[in-house]
Structures are given as structure tokens and as C-alpha cells.
Amino acid sequence: MTPTLSAMVLFIALPIISVFIQSLHIQHQQVIVVSESCGPFGCTKTTSVDTEATEKLRSEQPLGQFNGFNTYTNRSHLAFAEIVEAWNSMPDTRTFLDRVFNLPFYKALAFTLTYTLVVTPLVILLGLAIAVGVNALPKIIRGPSIFVSLLPFLVTPLVGSLILFWMVDGDGIIGATLQLIFDDPSLSLKASTPLMWIMLMVYGVWHTLPFSFITFYAGLQTVPQNTLEAAMIDGASKWQAMTYVVVPHLMPLVYFVTLMLLMDNFRVFEPIVSFSAQAHAQSLSWIIFNDLREAGNPLFGSAGATSMMTIIGVVILLTPVLIRTWREFNRRVK
């Protein structure tokens, strides 16, 4: 018990606590001096940071200024002030919603949730269907078809999405074919928000399908044959045997796969970067990346706040599934 607990504290609790503390702070007020800068193209009046004075502030309080939950509520995150203002000033719900989804956090949340809620069920259903299909194949071709079905999972996400990105380019094989079919030379998957969302979700399904497939396939090997035979003798059709015997038997696995997929999909990130999709789709993870990427002024507080809210989001999504699993577990133990 103690080793497990200390490992959990060390590797899970402490990092989260440190991110949380970070998210409550912002940088010190920088001491700015007005100066003149000259170069090959002439002189201009400019400002620069008085690094000595700023350094002094920093060494006194290395964490930065305490900012409480203000980072959580500012425009880049929950944007309470902006939402209240929009609610009071907007004539109807539609323009109000337009304003809300114009805010970076809600824009990203909208895509992240849509992605999670579309991709997760699709991956579970298709994964189960493929697993049943492969299980019914003659033994001799089963091995190769398992291998082929696993391929998308073996491709590194970044590489897989880049390949698809090039294929849907106007000059790529899919992009050019679509232009030919619809007879529209300016048709571009990358220029339209709905098409970009669809493409990201199709990629998401393609990439994670093997995970649910292989889990269900393993589960299918444990389905009790005598129950199945009994059902058949009772005159159950194949479909009935599937829904009344196989699926209930696989239910714990379905919960497991759902948990994993919800967590993974809520943190969707790589396809957005490799599809250069930021113009049309942003996710919570992408926002964190964007805050930290600015090497000159990385916004640690913002990134910390978005991380905390991502964790909370995952917990909210997982709660119903966890409760189900817990009940199931208790029922079985009794």
C-alpha cells in the first residue's frame, strides 16, 4: 500500500499541485524604460525592459505575482466578464452564442467536445463490428487481417495525419479526385470549417479504431461457447445471440474502452498541428501548446489554468462511466 501511495503522490499528485500553484500566479510587473534603438534602417524611439529592476522583483518572489483565480476567469479562459457583457448587450440568443463561441476557450471547448462525442461512439461501434467480422473469418486469413487492421495504430500520429494532409491537398490524390468528382477546381477541404472538422474526426476514428478492435477481439475469445450454443438451441438468431449474449459479456470491456477513448479524445492535439487546422479547429491541448510555444514570453499561468480545466473536463466526462463501473464491480463482488 505505502509504495503504491507514495508513487502516486510523487508522479501524479505533486505535478498536478505544482501546475495548480503555477496557474494562480502571473509574472511580475516588468520595469519598462523608454529608450532609442538604432540599426541598419535608422533610429526609432522604443522601450525596453529594465532587466536589473525586474530581476530584483523576481528574486524576491520567484513564483511571480499572486493572481488568485483571475487567470481562470480572464478572456483567454472562462471569460466571465465578456459573457456577462455579451448577455446584457446582445439582442438575441444567436448573436449571444456567436459572441461566446468567438472567445478562445469556448471555441476550443466546442471542437474538443464535438470531437470526443462523435469519435468515441463511432470507434466503439466500428471496433466491435470489425472484431466480430474478423472473428468469423477462416483461421488461415485471420492473422493477416488482424495485422492489417492494426496498421493505423502503428503509424505515429504525426506522420499519419501528415500523410492524410498531403493526400487531401488540392494537388493530392484525394483532394484532386474530389475536385474532379464535384467538377469544382477551387474545392478545398482545408478552406472550409465543416469539412476540416469532418476530416479531423475521420482521422481520429481511423487512428484509434485498432485499439477498440483489438480489445474487443481479445474479449470475443472468452465468450462462453456453451451459453452461445444454448441460445442457438433456443432458436436465437445471430443478431439476438450478439445482443443478448456477446455484448453483455463484453460490457466491462466496453466501459474500459470508453474510459480510455474519452480521456484520449478530450486531449486531441496532434492532428490539429499536422493538418495546420488551427484556423478552423482548436482544442484545449492546442491552447496549452500555444501559450507555452511563445518562447520569449511563455504564459505559464494560462497554460496551467487550461491544464487544470482540461483535467476537470476529463473528470466530468468520466464520472458517469466510473459510477457504472463501480456499481458493476460491487454487484459482481457481492
Binding site: I26, Q27, H28, Q29, Q30, I32, V33, V34, S35, E36, S37, C38, G39, P40, F41, G42, C43, T44, K45, T46, T47, S48, V49, T51, E52, T54, E55, G64, Q65, T71, N74, R75, S76, E82, N102, P104, D169, G170, P185, S186, S188, K190, A191, T193, F275, S276, A277, Q278, A279, H280, N290, R293, E294, A295, G296, N297, L299, G301, S302
Partner: protein
């Protein structure tokens, strides 16, 4: 006897010659570690410095990467720093100075820089913080054969000229999307706004403060110009940066472009393209806007800095070595690799665009500590306007709001 003396004298002269040569490299047996971006001009400077002074140094390493900007602050923060010198540009010098990671070069310039020209010295508040060696800017690329086909013999001078030309090319059925610009979401699209905003005479901040100042008529006019131009750009333009636009150009699929001067050499060389494209590509000054005279471009320089957190002897040796590369000989060997700010540079066709843009009076990329935050806000928020899902006024208000939020967090605004 006298012969012996003569030989001795000769040997002495040789020795003294080599001693004074080593003196050109500053203190001997030091460790020199240079970090820079990976492109031909920087390869030339750092390579030549290593040839000159590598023997006198105990260690001479050159690290050239694509993502220098992302690692330089972290690399210079420890004491001793990971590198003794970083080769920077306008915006990255500010990034290092914000954290106080580079040292003033006044005494080193006095000791080793007698051949440097005054316009190479980057001074901030009276201190020399960097020594520039090359210039860069965006400018116009034109396919003169395509323009001639639609009856335009003059190189476009303004945005209006460009639109007339683009329209003519489209209507003649030669190209549906004759124009290329680096419009990729993020840094690139923000930079395009900078070009046009500066050309309209805009200022990013209220003078002497970090307060934003871009929600105004000039910014609206800049957005209108951009929108009018991208009408003729490929629908995928929001995912295209230099590599994509250069490839489109070299494939002969564009006739008008606003691209980086540093791509000029690569477009004009005999690799990656056809004779038809290279022989008809003309590099010209960036376009002007609204009957003004300022080219829509930002001027950039690249130059050397010396890390603060290194021993003085290493700093001196590094500076001496890098300055020893800034000579007419080096320029003669690498003339077409850059728009050199050094003696002996003979501007060729690849330099014409940048030269015209500089002479035309384009503005330098602003060197203020919070410009990166503004640039980021622009890069993220302008997209809504360009996709047509938001008005220009709302977009500019969003940019200011996004900038203010991050500037507060970074401590530039209260």
C-alpha cells in the same frame, strides 16, 4: 652570419605574422560556441569564423537549427551559458534582452570592430547590443511573361496594381489563383498584417507604453488590402507558409507573390523549377498602399550577440572570431547567399527586391519587448475576419482584448 640573421628575421616576421593573426582572434585557447538559425548566410558567417579562428580556440562549435528561437532563452539562462553567441534577428534580440541574457558590446567593438560600419551596430539606449551583417524583408515576386500575356508591361508598384494584374490573369483564364502570400495561421498571418499596417503608417502601441493601438482606420484599411489580395490566392492560403508558397511559385502556378527576400536566391537558382519560371521571375520592391510611398514590408536584420553568462575571455574570443568573418573576402565567396550589409557586396538579381524595398523606405520590424505578444494575438485572431465569419472591427477589438489579456499575464500591463 648576415644570412643567418636574415633567416632569423624572416622567421620572426612569420612568427609575428601568425601571432598578430591569432591576436585578431582574441584570447587563445578559449571555448567558442555559436548558436544560429540554419540558412546559407549564417552558415557562411559561422563557417568562415571557424576557419579563421578554429585553430586558436580550444573548442569551436557551431549549432545551426530551425527552432533556434524556441531554445535560445533557455540555453543562455544558466551560468555558464550553453552558447557564447547567438545569431539573432530584430525580434529575437528583444526576446533575449527581455531576460537580460546578452551583454553590451561597446568595449569589444572598440577593440575588434574598427572595420565595422556604423550602420551594422544595433544600439539600444546607447549600448551596442548586436552587430548586424545582413538584411531581409518581404517583397514582390512577379512573372513577367504572364503579365505580358495580359498586356501589362510594367511591374506592379502598388496593391491596386497587383489586384488589376491578378484580375486580368484570372479573366484571361491563365490562372485561377495567380497570387501567393505566406498566410499560414499564427506567426505568418500576423506578419502579413504588420506589413500592411506599417505601410498605412500605423503604430502598434501608444507611444512609450504597452497599451495596444491597432483598433483604428489604418488597421481597417490594412485588413481591406489583405482581403482584396487573398481573393486571388489559393483557397488553402491559411495553411501556406514560405515552403508551400515557394513550391507553388517554382511549380509555375503563381504569377504574383509577396514572399521573403531570403527565398529569392532559392527561387532563381536552377534547382526545383523550370527555365520558364526562373528566367521570367522578377524580384521587385514590396507594393505600396493607398497612394502612399511606404512599401508594405518589414525590414529585418540578422546579427551576432554575445551571451552575458560566460567568462569575459570566452566572450572576447567569440566576438573576435565572428567579426573576423565579416570581411569583403567572405562576401566575395558567398555574394548571393544574402543581402550583406558588408563591404564588397555586389547586389545581384536575387537582391533587387530587398534593395528596392529598403530604398523605398519600408519600416523596420518593431523592437519593443511586447511585440511578440501582439504578433501572437494577431496571428490567432485575424483568421475569423479572413474566413469571412467576423467583421473587421470585431476582429481588431478581439486582437486588442487578446493582447491585453496576455500582456497582463506577462507583466507588461497592469
Amino acid at each position: 652570419m648576415s644570412l643567418k640573421k636574415l633567416i632569423l628575421a624572416g622567421a620572426m616576421t612569420c612568427l609575428m605574422g601568425s601571432v598578430s593573426y591569432a591576436a585578431g582572434c582574441g584570447p587563445e585557447a578559449q571555448s567558442i560556441r555559436v548558436l544560429g538559425s540554419d540558412f546559407p548566410a549564417i552558415q557562411a558567417i559561422s563557417g568562415t569564423a571557424k576557419e579563421n579562428c578554429g585553430a586558436a580556440a580550444q573548442e569551436f562549435t557551431v549549432t545551426l537549427k530551425d527552432n533556434t528561437r524556441d531554445i535560445m532563452n533557455a540555453a543562455l539562462t544558466p551560468n555558464p551559458a550553453e552558447y557564447t553567441s547567438v545569431i539573432v534577428a530584430n525580434s529575437t534580440l528583444t526576446q533575449l534582452m527581455n531576460d537580460g541574457l546578452v551583454r553590451p558590446l561597446n568595449d569589444l567593438v572598440e577593440k575588434y570592430g574598427k572595420d565595422l560600419k556604423p550602420n551594422q551596430l544595433i544600439k539600444v539606449d546607447g549600448n551596442i547590443m548586436a552587430v548586424a551583417f545582413m538584411a531581409n524583408s518581404q517583397h514582390l515576386f512577379v512573372r513577367k511573361d504572364v503579365l505580358e500575356k495580359v498586356g501589362i508591361s510594367q511591374t506592379p508598384k502598388s496593391v491596386e496594381d497587383m489586384i488589376v494584374a491578378a484580375k486580368a490573369i484570372r479573366e484571361a483564364g491563365i490562372m485561377e489563383h495567380p497570387l501567393v502570400m505566406n498566410m499560414k495561421v499564427g506567426w505568418n498571418v500576423g506578419e502579413v498584417f504588420n506589413l500592411f499596417y506599417l505601410a498605412h503608417g500605423g503604430e502598434f502601441f501608444k507611444e512609450g507604453t504597452a497599451e495596444p493601438n491597432i483598433n483604428n482606420e489604418k488597421a481597417l484599411a490594412a485588413l481591406e488590402d489583405i482581403k482584396a489580395l487573398v481573393e486571388y490566392a489559393h483557397p488553402d492560403h491559411l495553411s501556406q507558409a514560405s515552403n508551400e508558397t515557394q513550391a507553388t511559385w517554382e511549380a509555375g502556378k503563381a504569377a504574383l507573390g509577396i514572399m521573403w527576400g531570403s527565398r529569392g536566391g532559392a527561387v532563381l537558382d536552377n534547382e526545383g523549377s523550370t527555365e520558364e519560371v526562373t528566367s521570367n521571375t522578377v524580384l521587385a520592391g514590396a507594393p505600396t498602399v493607398a497612394d502612399g510611398s511606404i512599401p508594405a514590408a518589414t525590414l529585418w536584420w540578422d546579427g551576432i550577440t554575445i551571451a552575458k553568462n560566460v567568462p569575459d575571455a570566452e566572450a572576447e574570443a567569440t566576438f573576435a572570431a565572428l567579426v573576423s568573418a565579416m570581411t569583403a573576402d567572405m562576401v566575395a565567396k558567398h555574394n548571393d547567399d544574402a543581402i550583406w550589409l558588408l563591404d564588397g557586396f555586389k547586389p545581384g538579381p536575387a537582391a533587387a527586391g530587398v534593395t528596392e524595398t529598403v530604398v523605398g523606405g519600408a519600416k523596420a520590424y518593431p523592437m519593443v519587448p511586447y511585440i511578440n505578444l501582439m504578433h501572437n494575438a494577431l496571428g490567432a485572431e485575424l483568421v475569423d475576419f479572413l474566413k469571412g465569419s467576423e467583421s473587421a472591427e470585431q476582429t481588431l477589438a478581439d486582437v486588442e482584448a487578446a493582447y491585453v489579456t496576455s500582456a497582463k499575464e506577462a507583466g507588461f500591463l497592469e
